[in-house]
């Protein structure tokens, strides 16, 4: 039965500054776990839930302990909820950072089967069986039961579930340049921005929340005679009006990278746009800056003691900020435990707001600050030199009371007292948070007096200011911000810059230092230590750290991985300082260190990362000029292209279409879009010499008007690319290659020309995109071409001829090729003419039965001819000898690229794999590419694999299956039997030469 929900919203009061961010004239309805609730415009999800007395928001990650709101910013480890429904449902949002919107649907996560009844809580009972790193030692046996474990773990573990529908929103990226990036829009950031903009530098000020000012509104006082908040508003107005400053709110720095790159993640509201369907929901800024100032503030540290994680326990400063900003009380019976003066500020505020302050527990033995004395004089119940040492819970696991003990003698029940309370506000002092410096490899230094980390040595161009730099009083913060801004200016300008530090009259109460306190009490039992949480998000306790240290792990990185401390999505923001204090005590000889904070600083959506690279824009696609004319084709990706693989007729299967197209080419004439090939012009007096050095093949005696098939090797002697080289003129060559590798041939040529032989006189031009190219293949090609007007006598072309001239009124090139072992001509015309050429040739070829064919068919035809295909038969580790192309290598050339590599003994070892043919005994069986070949299929495994199938297909011409394979010493085993392993069986085949078929006859 749910208890009655109280209204924890404080009523409006004349002249008070309570609830200044909410607009009580604009109520907002929303639901939480299906229950209808109300909030106001200006509320965050967290403040609205607190107002509605929602104590328990979620269950913790590992033990499913009930948890509530702890803080008011991105450092809160508990307030993770799911918002929205359907295709806009977003998991893992931090309730403290999301503004409430009308009709919002908010739900708890990590509760199963329902928020009211979380059976996951039973896991908590199994805690003794789940010590740190238990996951590495369990779930291993018996092996088959892993499937059962996996399913259970996936349901019970983790946070949030992925939405089931595609994301309907837009996301985008933008590149921006600036001089100074300031991270954090609090007092220090504002002061730094003022300083930097005074030097006319371009400043970007980035603030994670939707408002500037940081936590200045948690303090009273005056600056230059004005109330603190008014003074800040004025400064912000000036910055916004400046042409040198750009302010981003709802934007967080996701990561800092080399050379001043910052990735900023900005959250937007498309509904605020004039075109909501076009406005992006999130934007990534890729900002290059010359200086970065971290004004990221400090985190208030929670206290570590047994059962310190119950719903109702909140950070003290956060609690009074909730009251001041949203007019909500965290509860009605409040205990405050503090190691510094912040607790008293909060006590004063909450008392004024109507809460009952049951006790203020000061962990210091002898507090002496002015705030302490003020609250004492008011009669606030105080317990000095005491500490919370435990909490009790109510029916639903929320806080019901606090056990307090005197610090000097923490032993024995007599000295402990108990206070009934629904709220415990804790303040362990401030821990500076300059952790973004970790993204650039900076290590922070632990300050024992502070109980937190300070910046140590920082890389050039990175500066820290304000609370992040260990300055906590307003006067110090402003001065430090201005100082950082000035130093950043000097860094950008590369010279000194004198600025007058503005002096302010600041009347804000100065606090005494907070005492850094690790875990209390010292005499806690093991059971108690096992419920003293250090990392709330990942459920890591002092007990876990004890075990890890006992098992010998003493380095922070080891402790982190062993216990999972700091591995949650909050990366342990509120745990780091406390963990260091605990470790400093347990390992006195080690230097306390923090683990590395990594990008993203807080979770960001995949949508933001993808930006516009989704759907058709996912990655670049390249099109030939014929894409529109070949819409009837089945396409197959080839690099970034998607050429037609085959053109199936209605009712035809893919394989049937390939066979039909192949038959048409062999018997008539086929038309193929050959535009994809690389075409490189190499010209100049040294062009011939250059190509002869680049290729293993002899090119010196290539005649003008002829072409030759040539191999290019990489530096190690392996086949890099194969190409047809045509000599158009004495000093001009055209190199045509397939799509081949990612490193294109042109870049390879330039690399050698520029880096190795800069004195050679030649020029290289990539002509690939200038030309559209068709391949005409088949015995009826001459007939077809007879009808075309051309000054190139193509019909009379012999194989390997090359000519340039005119074809159908446009400049053209023709190459008589032999890709498919049929008469062929490759005709190239300027790209824009290609669609017209395709249409006209198709029309003219109709009486001859011309057929469009695609890459599948080309490959099949080439397979019949025993020709190899770089992509299929080679993998970067095949030599020309392996391919049986030894006679294409002119070994006695004084130099060619790869010559030395090829001469290594291993490259001509007789056991190397050779490219040979494989003819299956069953002519209808087509062995799948990649199938392994063995000598004895009946041998028990492991069997020696002698090779693998590289290409295969059914030959309509020879009416049987053909395959190419790389087989150990294959050339010496022609005629021998081998077995193809397929579906567990060994199917017999004979090794053959690759010359399956020549001059129209099977061999």
């Amino acid at each position: 039965m749910a208890r009655a929900r109280r209204n924890l919203r404080v009523p409006e009061k004349e002249g008070s500054n309570i609830g200044r961010l909410i607009d009580r004239t604009q109520p907002i309805s929303f639901t939480f776990n299906g229950r209808a609730m109300k909030g106001f415009a200006g509320d965050t999800v967290a403040s609205a839930l607190i107002a509605n007395d929602v104590r328990r928001l979620t269950s913790s990650f590992k033990y499913h302990r009930p948890r509530g709101v702890l803080g008011i910013g991105s450092d809160d480890p508990n307030a993770i909820v799911e918002i929205g429904v359907g295709d806009r449902r977003t998991p893992n949002l931090n309730a403290t950072q999301v503004l409430l919107a009308p009709d919002m649907r908010i739900a708890s996560q990590n509760v199963w089967p329902s928020p009211r009844l979380d059976l996951g809580g039973l896991i908590g009972r199994l805690k003794p069986l789940m010590p740190p790193s238990f996951q590495y030692k369990t779930f291993k046996w018996p092996v088959p039961t892993w499937r059962v474990y996996e399913k259970a773990l996936r349901t019970l573990g983790g946070i949030g579930t992925v939405p089931g529908a595609a994301d309907p929103d837009r996301y985008e990226h933008i590149h921006v340049d600036a001089d100074v990036l300031i991270v954090g829009g609090g007092l220090a950031g504002i002061a730094a921005a003022e300083a930097a903009s005074a030097a006319d530098l371009k400043v970007v000020l980035v603030e994670e929340t939707h408002r500037l000012g940081g936590i200045a509104d948690g303090y009273d006082g005056r600056v230059d005679g004005k109330p603190l908040l008014d003074w800040v508003q004025n400064k912000v107005r000036n910055l916004a009006a400046s042409r040198d400053v750009h302010i981003l709110t709802n934007a967080g720095v996701a990561g800092l990278y080399d050379h001043g790159l910052a990735i900023i993640h900005e959250r937007l509201d498309p509904n605020a746009s004039v075109e909501p369907e076009n406005a992006p929901r999130e934007r990534i800024w890729k900002l290059r800056t010359k200086a970065v100032i971290l004004a990221t503030g400090a985190h208030e540290k929670p206290l570590v003691f047994p059962d310190n994680d119950r719903p109702g326990i909140m950070l003290a400063t956060a609690a009074r900020l909730y009251l001041r900003r949203y007019g909500v009380l965290p509860g009605q019976r409040v205990v405050i435990a503090t190691t510094g003066d912040e607790g008293y500020r909060t006590a004063a505020d909450l008392a004024a707001g109507g809460a009952e302050i049951v006790r203020v527990v000061d962990l210091r033995l002898d507090p002496d600050g002015s705030l302490f004395h003020i609250m004492k004089a008011r009669g606030t119940p105080l317990a000095v030199g005491s500490a919370p040492v435990g909490t009790t819970k109510g029916k639903k696991g929320e806080l019901a009371g606090v056990t307090i003990a005197n610090r000097l003698t923490l032993d024995g029940p007599a000295l402990r007292s108990h206070a009934d309370a629904d709220t415990l506000l804790v303040s362990g002092g401030w821990g500076p948070a300059p952790f973004l410096a970790g993204h650039l490899g900076a290590r922070l230094v632990f300050d024992e007096e502070l109980g937190g980390f300070r910046p140590g040595e920082l890389p050039g161009g990175l500066f820290v200011a304000g609370a992040a730099n260990g300055k906590f009083h307003a006067a110090e913060v402003l001065e430090d911000g201005w100082r950082a801004g000035s130093i950043a200016v000097e860094h950008v300008l590369g010279s000194s810059w004198s600025s007058v530090v503005p002096s302010h009259s600041i009347e804000v109460t100065a606090d005494d230092d907070a005492e850094p306190v690790g875990m209390l009490p010292d005499v806690a039992t093991a059971a108690e230590r096992a419920t003293a949480f250090v990392d709330l998000q990942n459920d890591v306790t002092i007990g876990d750290l004890d075990i890890a240290i006992r098992e010998g792990y003493s380095a922070p990185e080891h402790l982190k991985r062993y216990t999972t401390l700091g591995q949650g999505v909050d990366q342990g923001k509120l745990a780091v300082a406390n963990a260091a204090m605990v470790m400093a005590k347990a390992l006195p000889n080690a230097t306390p260190a923090h683990t590395t904070f990594r990008p993203p600083w807080t979770p960001i959506t995949f949508g933001a990362i993808a930006g516009t690279r989704r759907g058709v824009l996912f990655k670049p696609v390249r099109e030939t000029p014929l894409t529109a004319l070949t819409s009837d084709a089945l396409r197959e990706p080839l690099g970034l292209w998607r050429p037609p693989a085959v053109f199936p007729r209605p009712g035809e299967s893919r394989e049937e279409a390939v066979r039909r197209e192949a038959r048409s080419v062999r018997n008539g004439v086929g038309l193929f879009d050959a535009t994809l090939g690389v075409k490189i012009a190499v010209q100049g007096p040294d062009a011939a010499q250059f190509l002869d050095r680049m290729s293993a093949t002899n090119l010196a005696d290539l005649e003008v008007g002829r072409s030759r098939f040539a191999l290019f090797l990489d530096n190690d002697g392996f086949v890099l690319e194969d190409a047809v080289i045509a000599r158009a003129e004495n000093d001009r060559f055209i190199v045509s290659a397939g799509i081949g590798r990612a490193d294109n041939l042109c870049a390879w040529f330039e690399r050698w020309r520029q880096r190795e032989w800069p004195d050679l006189n030649l020029f290289i031009t990539d002509e690939t995109e200038r030309w559209g190219q068709l391949l005409l293949a088949g015995p009826r090609v001459p007939e077809l071409l007879a009808a075309a007007s051309s000054d190139i006598d193509i019909a009379g072309f012999e194989t390997d001829s090359y000519a340039e001239g005119e074809f159908m009124g446009t400049t053209a090139r023709a190459l008589a090729t032999r890709y498919t072992a049929t008469p062929e001509v490759e005709i190239a015309v300027p790209a824009g003419h290609l669609p017209s050429l395709w249409e006209q040739i198709t029309e003219a070829g109709k009486p001859l039965g011309i057929t469009h064919f695609g890459t599948d068919t080309l490959h099949r035809l080439r397979l019949e001819g025993g020709a190899f295909d770089l992509d299929h038969e080679t993998d970067g580790s095949v030599t020309p000898y392996d391919l049986g192309l030894g006679d294409l290598v002119k070994v006695d050339k004084p130099f060619f690229v790869g010559k030395e590599g090829l001469e290594r003994p291993g490259m001509t070892r007789s056991s190397r794999r050779h490219l040979v043919g494989v003819l299956t005994e069953d002519p209808s069986f087509v062995p799948p590419p990649g199938a392994h070949l063995v000598l004895d299929p009946d041998h028990a495994p492991p069997r020696r694999v002698v090779g693998h199938v590289t290409s295969s297909g059914y030959s309509p011409t020879l009416r049987r299956s053909l395959a190419l394979a790389l087989i150990s010493a294959g050339e010496r085993h022609i005629g021998d039997r081998v077995f193809i392993v397929s579906s567990g069986e060994g199917l017999p085949a004979i090794i053959s030469s690759t010359a399956f078929f020549s001059n129209g006859e099977p061999t």
Binding site: D258, H259, L261, P459, G460, N715, A747, R751, R755, P758
Partner: protein
Amino acid sequence: MLMIRCPVCGIAADETEFTSGGLYGRLEETENRVIPRDVVREWWLCARGCGTWFGMARHVVNQRVTATWAAGDEPWDGRH
């Protein structure tokens, strides 16, 4: 992500606009060279820009670029 300025054409851009190309020098001079934990001299290509290979001296640990130069214009005396 490095920000690189091409010494030949002046373009300053993210390293994705460039291609890295191994140790600086002719091929036979650079084979089997060990890279120390300080400044390394490398070839880089202004791939999306002017298409020229140039040299860069970069500290391998802190990524500071100490010099860039056009081939033939090395900022040291004698051979590398």
